[in-house]
């Protein structure tokens, strides 16, 4: 009983609620001094505290509090002058204490908002996403279920536990319900998560790598009949791990809900899991029996009472909001929308800006990072920022080209050399002996040789058939090992052939 998305949004009004978990990039864990590095050998980054050995006690990581307050401020939240941690009690093998230290009725940041802009049929439109709360908590360990077909706990032969992640600082950002997005609900959700990601990256508080789980989104969706005031039953799709998946998961859930409602059935309030391959969700734990987490204030920790003056210092030091920055750069660099979007998507905005600040022309800086360098990064399957080439290198290369000491083609060789670790652009130029041949005598010798080698082509040019010159110029460039300035070669060649 398939129903089209257009039919869904004609009949139903979606209401969203988004919970985003962000792993902070602090060096140590939330409540102990263990390292937080991703990908270490299992259980090597643990201690009595994060393994919950008897007698061990948590101590709050001050950097995590600072990062959380920065996030709250960047999301226009109020910062609580006094907030407490609470214990959320439930048993699970990968949770060492069998309670999670979180915040409950006293979150550190509350009542904020984020504005996001999306393209609609009527042009760009802004939506305000209201933030309910931003609070701190700790991550759990990881269970690896071995055996069975699915890698899930059911059907597994045994499970392995890795507590390296246990105690990594997490910040949970919870929206209020988001009504009024209509058919744009999936796009609004995606734009919100993207905006959050950019804000968090701008703050430098998280790696925000969705694929590594350092930013995870739980998407709550419900449908109500058009015009109704009564909220429908929601489903919660857990741990959606890419922007595209956020959009797909919400669209998929809207369709699934509509099909149930059209068939006169009820939507179950439950947790669901998104499946990347099908774009559908499958049922997880049913929430019919609401869990009782028996929250109570964490007696091992003292309340968090940040100094008001310090909060103002943090506020004053906040970086420019990403959406405003994009607008500003777009104007300063006079970049078309599409190019701007390409830079944002390729994640090169910071590095291009750094290159421009070092004196490079915005267009050139952009074309290097987005073009040649991105290509090499793609080949190597790494991010451009992981290559050994820096904004300073690119600025230097652009300057060399401007001065006529490199041609674009030679410059590409220099870029390759820098990335290969041969040193700075100047060192690569020196080592590889790269230089523009601008000795007219040497060029004339090459031109004469080429004209002698290809007398027929030369004659065509003499006869006024100018496109034929291309082949001769190419040959001269080859003769000079690409180190000649093609424009000068053309000039000399045409003169030589009487044109």
């Amino acid at each position: 009983m398939a129903i089209s998305y257009d039919d869904v949004v004609a009949k139903y009004d979606p209401v969203l609620g988004l919970e985003v978990h962000v792993e902070l990039n602090t060096e140590s864990k939330m409540f102990c001094s263990c390292s937080t590095t991703f990908g270490a050998q299992p259980n090597t980054q643990t201690c009595p505290v994060c393994l919950a050995l008897p007698g061990a006690l948590p101590v709050v990581n001050a950097t995590a509090i600072e990062s959380t307050i920065k996030i709250g401020l960047a999301l226009n939240c109020s910062i609580a002058p006094y907030s407490r941690f609470a214990r959320k009690n439930y048993f699970y093998p990968d949770m060492p204490k069998n309670f999670q230290i979180s915040q409950y009725d006293e979150p550190i940041c509350f009542d904020g908002y984020v504005d996001v802009e999306i393209e609609t049929d009527e042009g760009p439109r802004q939506f305000r996403i209201e933030i309910e709360r931003v609070h701190m908590e700790e991550d759990t360990g990881k269970s690896l279920h071995v055996g069975g077909a699915t890698g899930r706990i059911h059907g597994a032969d045994y499970s392995l536990l890795d507590y390296n992640r246990a105690g990594i600082p997490l910040v949970e950002i919870v929206t209020k319900i988001v009504p009024g997005t209509g058919k744009y609900a999936p796009e609004v959700a995606r734009a919100y998560v993207a905006e959050l990601r950019d804000i968090l990256r701008g703050l430098g508080v998280s790696d925000v790598k969705m694929e590594q789980g350092s930013l995870r989104c739980d998407a709550n969706v419900s449908l109500k009949p058009m015009g109704s005031d009564v909220l429908g039953t929601r489903s919660e799709t857990k741990n959606v791990n890419s922007l595209r998946s956020v959009e797909r998961a919400i669209r998929g859930e809207m369709i699934r809900h509509a099909e149930l409602l059209d068939a006169g059935q009820k939507v179950k309030q439950e947790t669901r899991h998104f499946q990347e391959d099908t774009g559908l969700t499958r049922s997880g734990r049913s929430k019919e029996q609401a869990e009782d987490y028996r929250y109570f204030p964490e007696p091992d920790l003292v309340p968090v009472a940040p100094d008001a003056a310090w909060i103002e210092e943090l506020r004053a030091a906040l970086p420019e909001r990403p959406s405003l920055r994009r607008k500003r750069l777009k104007e300063e660099w006079s970049v078309p929308d599409k190019e701007m979007a390409a830079m944002v998507n390729a994640d090169v905005l910071d590095i291009v800006e750094a290159t421009v600040i070092l004196g490079a022309d915005p267009t050139k800086a952009r074309s290097w990072w987005l073009g040649e360098i991105s290509r090499i990064a793609n080949d190597k399957e790494v991010a451009v920022t992981e290559l050994s080439i820096t904004p300073a290198d690119v600025a230097e290369i652009v300057a060399l080209v401007n001065k006529g000491e490199l041609t674009d083609k030679l410059a590409r060789q220099v870029v390759e050399g820098v990335i290969a670790g041969e040193g700075s652009p100047a060192e690569v130029v020196a080592k590889r002996g790269i230089k523009v041949v601008n000795d007219d005598g040497a060029l004339m010798a090459a031109i004469e040789k080429v004209c002698n080698d290809q007398p027929d082509t030369a004659q065509k040019v003499r006869d006024g058939h100018l496109p034929a010159a291309g082949a001769l110029i190419g040959a001269v460039m080859k003769e000079t090992k690409g180190q000649a300035d093609a424009a000068r070669v053309r000039e000399l060649l045409l003169g030589h052939l009487g044109q």
């Binding site: 007698g55 061990a56 093998p93 309670f99 028996r294 091992d300 003292v302």
Partner: protein
């Protein structure tokens, strides 16, 4: 002993060996120890002796043996908290208290018996059997730090460490005729103290004299960055206070609610006499009213079980300790269930269930929330009382040591024994129990409790040392010297 060690009349090795021998002689009857660390103790003693020979400056307590309640972690030494669920666990780390003890050169001779996870007032709730009171082996030494108190009382160690969540140092000190102090909450690090009730737990010292106790207190106290609730500030000089022995002009407040009805006549008599002694030393005795204390027991038995229901959740067979039912195909949940069922004793289960219920949604406000309000009222009662008096006093426990089994099937009667000690824990202040003599009717020790405001622990020692000096001269020796011989040499 400290002087004899310093003068070279005896070595720590000899002293330690003598106590190990005494343990071998009397502990089969007393059962104060769960684990005796003969090798570890002798190694530490030898180290101290070597340091002394090398002329190093040593702490006054260096080389002195100490009995450690099994609730504090000591690296590599079995630690069970009196529970089957931790049987065989050897901690990977030292608690902060143990680190400080070791750094002072104190010799830990072993781990002492206790009510399971410190839940109890008689040491009968230990999964490893009860400890017997050296004054009368048919009676309990009190609890939960009954093993530590009995060890000191039976001359198995001159010093011991206990923990006090509702009176678990002061009450056994009272019942065994020794000195025990619960320091101000936050004065002694809880890092490595296996948690029963985080907001009430506090480790503290036992000794045979007020000065011994002060010296140990001084070693234990201090800020610890590993405990977020640890106080960071100037700590009172308890050793100087214990040498002061002066109460002239001090105001001593007798709490109206903690005497009279329900208190054994011999207990009340010794308490009243001690008050007269203090008055004769120049203290002014006043009566203070603490009306909210009536609700202290009820509040305690909601807060402590609530916190313990969460603190004890970590004992799940996943990472350490007992594991039961781990056969082919058993799920993690079923192993957790079976282990917790087999590993926890009745009283622990009772409190976990009580606490789980008290924290449940819909009941939280009525139980845990109300208990916290009572706590605030008790703090206010103390504030008013301390505006009228420098220290407050009461009998430590309503009765002398009771018979093994006498109250073990009547939890309410057992809980009532903590009525005088619990308010201190709820308010986070400090308290001492010291011997006030023997009750006429049973010839068993009576404890005199002194309470002082937070971080005024020095007042306990100042008043305690003055009272002790007067009583000891009256008795012609320390009360402990009147304890019956258990065989072997003291």
């Amino acid at each position: 002993m400290s002087e004899a060690l310093a003068k070279g009349e005896v070595t720590s090795t000899q002293l330690t060996q003598a106590h190990l021998d005494r343990i071998k002689d009397v502990d089969p009857a007393v059962k104060a120890f769960l684990h005796v660390d003969t090798d570890g103790a002798l190694e530490q003693a030898a180290r101290v002796d070597a340091d002394r020979s090398a002329g190093k400056t040593l702490h006054p307590l260096a080389g002195i043996p100490l009995a450690l309640k099994d609730v504090l972690t000591q690296e590599g030494v079995p630690t069970t908290a009196g529970s089957k669920i931790l049987q065989g666990w050897k901690p990977q780390y030292d608690s902060t208290v143990v680190s400080k003890i070791k750094n002072a050169g104190i010799v830990i001779v072993g781990k002492t018996n206790m009510d399971e996870f410190a839940m109890g007032s008689s040491t009968e709730n230990s999964a490893y059997g009860p400890t017997f009171n050296p004054w009368d082996l048919t009676r309990t030494p009190g609890g939960s730090s009954g093993g530590s108190a009995a060890a000191v009382s039976a001359f198995e160690a001159p010093l011991a460490i206990g923990s006090d969540t509702g009176g678990s140092i002061r009450q056994p000190a009272a019942l065994t005729g020794i000195v025990g102090v619960r320091p101000t909450y936050g004065a002694v690090s809880r890092y490595g103290l296996i948690a029963y009730s985080s907001s009430l737990d506090q480790a503290g010292p036992f000794g045979r004299t007020v000065l011994d106790t002060a010296l140990l207190h001084d070693v234990m106290a201090g800020h610890d960055p590993k405990d977020a609730t640890s106080i960071n500030g100037a700590f009172p000089d308890v050793v100087a206070a214990a040498r002061k022995r002066d109460v002239k002009g001090m105001k001593i407040g007798v709490i109206k609610q903690l005497q009279g009805e329900g208190y054994q006549s011999g207990v009340q008599a010794r308490f009243d006499e001690s008050l007269q002694v203090l008055a004769s030393l120049g203290a002014q005795i006043v009566e203070v009213d603490c009306p909210s204390f009536e609700y202290a027991l009820a509040a305690y038995y909601l807060i402590a079980p609530s916190e313990c229901s969460s603190n004890l959740a970590r004992f799940d067979a996943m990472r350490y300790g007992l594991r039961v039912g781990d056969s082919d195909g058993a799920s993690a949940e079923s192993v957790m269930n079976a282990t917790r069922n087999a590993g926890f004793g009745h009283e622990v289960k009772r409190r976990i269930i009580l606490g789980t219920y008290a924290l449940s949604s819909g009941y939280y406000d009525a139980y845990y929330g109300s208990a916290q309000k009572i706590r605030t009222l008790i703090i206010q009662d103390y504030a008013k009382a301390f505006a009228q008096a420098d220290v407050l006093v009461s009998p430590t426990a309503p009765t002398t040591a009771f018979k093994i089994g006498e109250k073990s099937n009547d939890p309410i009667a057992m809980y009532l024994g903590d009525v005088a000690t619990i308010p201190v824990n709820l308010a986070g202040i400090c308290g001492m129990s010291l011997p006030a003599g023997l009750a006429d009717e049973d010839n068993l020790p009576v404890g005199f409790q002194i309470m002082a405001p937070a971080m005024q622990d020095a007042r306990l020692y100042q008043v305690g040392s003055a009272l002790e000096a007067a009583l000891v001269s009256q008795w012609g020796g320390h009360l402990i010297s009147k304890a019956p011989a258990l065989g072997g040499s003291k």
